[in-house]
Protein backbone atom coordinates (compact mmCIF):
# COMPACT_ATOMS: atom_id res chain seq x y z
CA UNK A 1 0.00 0.00 0.00
CA UNK A 2 1.40 3.36 -0.95
CA UNK A 3 1.26 6.50 1.12
CA UNK A 4 -1.20 7.87 -1.37
CA UNK A 5 -3.48 4.93 -0.71
CA UNK A 6 -3.10 5.35 3.02
CA UNK A 7 -3.95 9.04 2.84
CA UNK A 8 -7.01 8.35 0.77
CA UNK A 9 -8.07 5.52 3.09
CA UNK A 10 -7.65 7.87 6.05
CA UNK A 11 -9.80 10.44 4.31
CA UNK A 12 -12.49 7.83 3.78
CA UNK A 13 -12.23 6.63 7.37
CA UNK A 14 -12.77 10.18 8.57
CA UNK A 15 -16.26 10.08 7.07
CA UNK A 16 -18.63 8.82 9.73
CA UNK A 17 -21.43 6.48 8.69
CA UNK A 18 -24.83 7.58 9.85
CA UNK A 19 -25.83 6.22 13.26
CA UNK A 20 -28.55 3.62 13.60
CA UNK A 21 -32.01 5.12 13.98
CA UNK A 22 -33.53 4.62 17.42
CA UNK A 23 -36.49 2.90 15.83
CA UNK A 24 -34.19 0.24 14.37
CA UNK A 25 -32.56 -0.42 17.75
CA UNK A 26 -36.04 -0.69 19.27
CA UNK A 27 -37.08 -3.22 16.60
CA UNK A 28 -33.99 -5.33 17.24
CA UNK A 29 -34.66 -5.13 20.97
CA UNK A 30 -38.24 -6.29 20.41
CA UNK A 31 -37.11 -9.14 18.15
CA UNK A 32 -34.55 -10.39 20.63
CA UNK A 33 -36.99 -10.08 23.52
CA UNK A 34 -39.83 -11.77 21.65
CA UNK A 35 -38.26 -15.11 20.96
CA UNK A 36 -35.80 -16.69 23.34
CA UNK A 37 -32.58 -18.04 22.01
CA UNK A 38 -33.06 -21.47 20.52
CA UNK A 39 -32.67 -24.36 22.87
CA UNK A 40 -29.56 -26.44 22.59
CA UNK A 41 -31.49 -29.63 23.20
CA UNK A 42 -31.54 -30.58 19.52
CA UNK A 43 -27.77 -30.31 19.44
CA UNK A 44 -27.44 -32.39 22.57
CA UNK A 45 -29.84 -34.97 21.22
CA UNK A 46 -27.85 -35.20 18.01
CA UNK A 47 -24.58 -35.56 19.89
CA UNK A 48 -25.93 -38.28 22.16
CA UNK A 49 -27.38 -40.12 19.16
CA UNK A 50 -24.00 -40.01 17.43
CA UNK A 51 -22.24 -41.20 20.58
CA UNK A 52 -24.71 -44.03 21.07
CA UNK A 53 -24.29 -45.11 17.48
CA UNK A 54 -20.52 -45.09 17.81
CA UNK A 55 -20.65 -47.21 20.96
CA UNK A 56 -23.05 -49.67 19.32
CA UNK A 57 -20.77 -49.94 16.30
CA UNK A 58 -17.78 -50.65 18.54
CA UNK A 59 -19.68 -53.40 20.34
CA UNK A 60 -20.74 -55.01 17.06
CA UNK A 61 -17.21 -54.91 15.68
CA UNK A 62 -15.82 -56.39 18.89
CA UNK A 63 -18.34 -59.24 18.79
CA UNK A 64 -17.63 -59.99 15.14
CA UNK A 65 -13.88 -59.97 15.59
CA UNK A 66 -13.94 -62.29 18.61
CA UNK A 67 -12.79 -65.85 17.56
CA UNK A 68 -15.62 -68.36 17.24
CA UNK A 69 -13.68 -71.01 19.15
CA UNK A 70 -13.72 -68.74 22.17
CA UNK A 71 -17.37 -68.04 21.83
CA UNK A 72 -18.47 -71.67 21.51
CA UNK A 73 -15.84 -73.95 23.07
CA UNK A 74 -15.83 -77.33 21.38
CA UNK A 75 -15.95 -80.48 23.55
CA UNK A 76 -12.74 -82.43 23.91
CA UNK A 77 -12.25 -84.95 21.11
CA UNK A 78 -13.39 -88.53 21.76
CA UNK A 79 -10.75 -91.04 20.86
CA UNK A 80 -11.78 -94.56 20.03
CA UNK A 81 -9.45 -96.86 21.77
CA UNK A 82 -9.19 -100.57 21.48
CA UNK A 83 -8.62 -102.53 24.59
CA UNK A 84 -5.37 -104.38 24.48
CA UNK A 85 -5.50 -107.91 23.21
CA UNK A 86 -6.02 -110.48 25.90
CA UNK A 87 -7.73 -108.20 28.34
CA UNK A 88 -11.04 -109.12 29.95
CA UNK A 89 -12.69 -105.94 28.95
CA UNK A 90 -15.56 -106.40 26.47
CA UNK A 91 -14.80 -105.55 22.88
CA UNK A 92 -16.99 -104.00 20.26
CA UNK A 93 -19.33 -106.65 18.87
CA UNK A 94 -19.17 -108.89 21.94
CA UNK A 95 -22.69 -108.04 22.96
CA UNK A 96 -24.33 -108.91 19.62
CA UNK A 97 -22.27 -112.09 19.41
CA UNK A 98 -23.46 -113.17 22.83
CA UNK A 99 -27.10 -112.48 21.91
CA UNK A 100 -26.76 -114.51 18.71
CA UNK A 101 -25.30 -117.42 20.63
CA UNK A 102 -28.08 -117.33 23.17
CA UNK A 103 -30.84 -117.40 20.58
CA UNK A 104 -29.33 -120.16 18.44
CA UNK A 105 -30.47 -123.62 19.66
CA UNK A 106 -27.66 -125.95 20.36
CA UNK A 107 -27.63 -128.74 17.82
CA UNK A 108 -25.96 -131.05 20.24
CA UNK A 109 -28.77 -130.79 22.86
Amino acid sequence: MTDKFDRFAAELAAMRPRALPTSLVDRIDADLAAAPEPSRWPDRFLLSAIASGAIAACVIVAVLLKPISQTFPSPPPVLATMPPAGSDLPRAGDFSLAVARAETPSLGL
Binding site: M15, L24, I28, L32
Partner: protein, 165 residues
Protein backbone atom coordinates in the same frame (compact mmCIF):
# COMPACT_ATOMS: atom_id res chain seq x y z
CA UNK B 1 -11.50 -13.73 17.85
CA UNK B 2 -11.91 -10.25 19.27
CA UNK B 3 -15.18 -9.07 20.77
CA UNK B 4 -15.90 -12.56 22.07
CA UNK B 5 -16.03 -11.16 25.58
CA UNK B 6 -18.55 -8.49 24.71
CA UNK B 7 -21.68 -10.39 25.40
CA UNK B 8 -24.41 -7.79 25.37
CA UNK B 9 -26.07 -7.16 22.07
CA UNK B 10 -26.33 -3.40 22.56
CA UNK B 11 -22.56 -3.12 22.87
CA UNK B 12 -22.22 -4.95 19.57
CA UNK B 13 -24.79 -2.73 17.94
CA UNK B 14 -23.23 0.47 19.29
CA UNK B 15 -19.82 -0.54 18.04
CA UNK B 16 -20.67 -2.01 14.66
CA UNK B 17 -24.17 -0.74 13.88
CA UNK B 18 -23.29 2.32 11.72
CA UNK B 19 -20.83 0.34 9.60
CA UNK B 20 -23.32 -2.51 9.31
CA UNK B 21 -26.00 -0.14 8.10
CA UNK B 22 -23.62 1.28 5.53
CA UNK B 23 -22.64 -2.24 4.54
CA UNK B 24 -26.28 -3.29 4.17
CA UNK B 25 -26.95 -0.29 1.97
CA UNK B 26 -24.52 -1.71 -0.55
CA UNK B 27 -26.98 -4.53 -1.10
CA UNK B 28 -30.28 -2.78 -0.57
CA UNK B 29 -32.45 -0.76 -2.88
CA UNK B 30 -33.60 1.67 -0.21
CA UNK B 31 -32.46 2.86 3.25
CA UNK B 32 -35.50 1.11 4.70
CA UNK B 33 -34.37 -2.16 3.14
CA UNK B 34 -30.92 -1.68 4.63
CA UNK B 35 -32.44 -1.19 8.08
CA UNK B 36 -34.48 -4.36 7.65
CA UNK B 37 -31.34 -6.22 6.62
CA UNK B 38 -29.44 -5.01 9.69
CA UNK B 39 -32.37 -5.97 11.89
CA UNK B 40 -32.76 -9.47 10.46
CA UNK B 41 -29.04 -10.10 10.13
CA UNK B 42 -28.21 -8.89 13.61
CA UNK B 43 -30.97 -10.92 15.25
CA UNK B 44 -29.86 -13.98 13.29
CA UNK B 45 -26.26 -13.33 14.34
CA UNK B 46 -27.10 -12.92 17.98
CA UNK B 47 -29.15 -16.10 18.17
CA UNK B 48 -26.57 -18.28 16.42
CA UNK B 49 -23.33 -16.63 17.46
CA UNK B 50 -22.21 -19.59 19.59
CA UNK B 51 -21.64 -21.60 16.43
CA UNK B 52 -19.35 -18.99 14.90
CA UNK B 53 -15.61 -19.42 14.80
CA UNK B 54 -14.90 -15.71 14.45
CA UNK B 55 -17.70 -13.39 15.49
CA UNK B 56 -17.08 -10.20 13.53
CA UNK B 57 -16.87 -11.81 10.08
CA UNK B 58 -19.90 -13.89 11.02
CA UNK B 59 -21.85 -10.74 11.90
CA UNK B 60 -21.14 -9.29 8.47
CA UNK B 61 -22.01 -12.58 6.81
CA UNK B 62 -25.38 -12.60 8.57
CA UNK B 63 -26.20 -9.03 7.55
CA UNK B 64 -25.08 -9.64 3.97
CA UNK B 65 -27.18 -12.77 3.76
CA UNK B 66 -30.20 -10.97 5.23
CA UNK B 67 -29.79 -8.11 2.76
CA UNK B 68 -29.72 -10.55 -0.13
CA UNK B 69 -32.75 -12.40 1.20
CA UNK B 70 -34.65 -9.14 1.53
CA UNK B 71 -33.62 -8.08 -1.93
CA UNK B 72 -35.51 -11.11 -3.22
CA UNK B 73 -38.64 -10.15 -1.30
CA UNK B 74 -39.96 -7.14 -3.11
CA UNK B 75 -43.32 -7.11 -1.39
CA UNK B 76 -41.84 -6.33 2.00
CA UNK B 77 -39.93 -3.40 0.59
CA UNK B 78 -43.03 -1.98 -1.03
CA UNK B 79 -44.95 -2.30 2.21
CA UNK B 80 -42.28 -0.56 4.23
CA UNK B 81 -41.94 2.25 1.74
CA UNK B 82 -45.64 2.92 2.05
CA UNK B 83 -45.64 2.97 5.84
CA UNK B 84 -42.38 4.71 6.74
CA UNK B 85 -41.21 8.15 5.97
CA UNK B 86 -38.40 8.63 3.52
CA UNK B 87 -35.16 9.15 5.36
CA UNK B 88 -32.30 11.25 4.19
CA UNK B 89 -30.58 9.51 1.31
CA UNK B 90 -27.00 10.02 2.47
CA UNK B 91 -25.34 7.20 4.38
CA UNK B 92 -22.85 9.54 6.06
CA UNK B 93 -22.98 12.36 8.53
CA UNK B 94 -21.32 15.25 6.74
CA UNK B 95 -19.88 18.32 8.44
CA UNK B 96 -21.15 21.32 6.53
CA UNK B 97 -17.69 22.43 5.39
CA UNK B 98 -16.91 19.05 3.81
CA UNK B 99 -20.30 18.30 2.38
CA UNK B 100 -19.34 18.65 -1.26
CA UNK B 101 -16.22 16.50 -1.14
CA UNK B 102 -17.82 13.75 0.91
CA UNK B 103 -20.93 13.74 -1.21
CA UNK B 104 -18.65 13.16 -4.22
CA UNK B 105 -16.92 10.33 -2.39
CA UNK B 106 -20.26 8.74 -1.57
CA UNK B 107 -21.35 8.94 -5.19
CA UNK B 108 -18.05 7.44 -6.35
CA UNK B 109 -18.40 4.70 -3.76
CA UNK B 110 -21.89 3.86 -4.96
CA UNK B 111 -20.55 3.45 -8.49
CA UNK B 112 -18.01 0.80 -7.54
CA UNK B 113 -18.74 -2.82 -8.43
CA UNK B 114 -20.53 -4.51 -5.54
CA UNK B 115 -17.73 -6.91 -4.66
CA UNK B 116 -15.24 -4.04 -4.38
CA UNK B 117 -17.62 -1.74 -2.56
CA UNK B 118 -18.37 -4.23 0.19
CA UNK B 119 -14.66 -4.82 0.81
CA UNK B 120 -14.04 -1.08 1.13
CA UNK B 121 -16.90 -0.70 3.60
CA UNK B 122 -15.78 -3.66 5.69
CA UNK B 123 -12.15 -2.56 5.72
CA UNK B 124 -12.49 1.18 6.25
CA UNK B 125 -15.63 1.59 8.33
CA UNK B 126 -15.99 -1.91 9.72
CA UNK B 127 -12.35 -2.19 10.73
CA UNK B 128 -12.03 -5.79 9.59
CA UNK B 129 -8.71 -7.27 8.58
CA UNK B 130 -8.32 -8.76 5.12
CA UNK B 131 -8.39 -12.21 6.68
CA UNK B 132 -11.70 -11.42 8.36
CA UNK B 133 -13.10 -9.94 5.16
CA UNK B 134 -12.06 -13.05 3.29
CA UNK B 135 -13.77 -15.22 5.88
CA UNK B 136 -16.97 -13.17 5.77
CA UNK B 137 -17.17 -13.20 1.98
CA UNK B 138 -15.82 -16.70 1.41
CA UNK B 139 -12.81 -15.50 -0.57
CA UNK B 140 -9.08 -15.65 0.03
CA UNK B 141 -7.16 -12.98 1.89
CA UNK B 142 -5.32 -11.98 -1.29
CA UNK B 143 -8.59 -11.64 -3.21
CA UNK B 144 -9.98 -9.37 -0.52
CA UNK B 145 -6.80 -7.28 -0.55
CA UNK B 146 -6.75 -6.96 -4.33
CA UNK B 147 -10.42 -5.95 -4.45
CA UNK B 148 -9.65 -3.26 -1.89
CA UNK B 149 -6.69 -2.02 -3.92
CA UNK B 150 -8.71 -1.92 -7.14
CA UNK B 151 -11.53 -0.12 -5.38
CA UNK B 152 -9.33 2.59 -3.91
CA UNK B 153 -7.60 3.12 -7.24
CA UNK B 154 -10.92 3.46 -8.97
CA UNK B 155 -12.31 5.80 -6.32
CA UNK B 156 -9.28 8.05 -6.62
CA UNK B 157 -9.59 8.12 -10.40
CA UNK B 158 -13.28 8.97 -10.18
CA UNK B 159 -12.67 11.78 -7.72
CA UNK B 160 -9.69 13.25 -9.53
CA UNK B 161 -11.63 13.20 -12.80
CA UNK B 162 -14.42 15.04 -11.06
CA UNK B 163 -12.09 17.70 -9.64
CA UNK B 164 -10.20 18.30 -12.88
CA UNK B 165 -11.97 20.61 -15.41
Amino acid sequence: MHDRDTDHWQQWLDRHGPALLLFARQWSATPADAEDAVQDGFVRFWRTREAARDLLPYLYTCVRSAAMDLGRGQRRRMRREQTTDRREASAFEFPAEQREREAAIEVALSQLPGDQREVVVMKIWGGLTFAEIGEALGVSLSTAASRYRYALTRLEQELSAEVSP
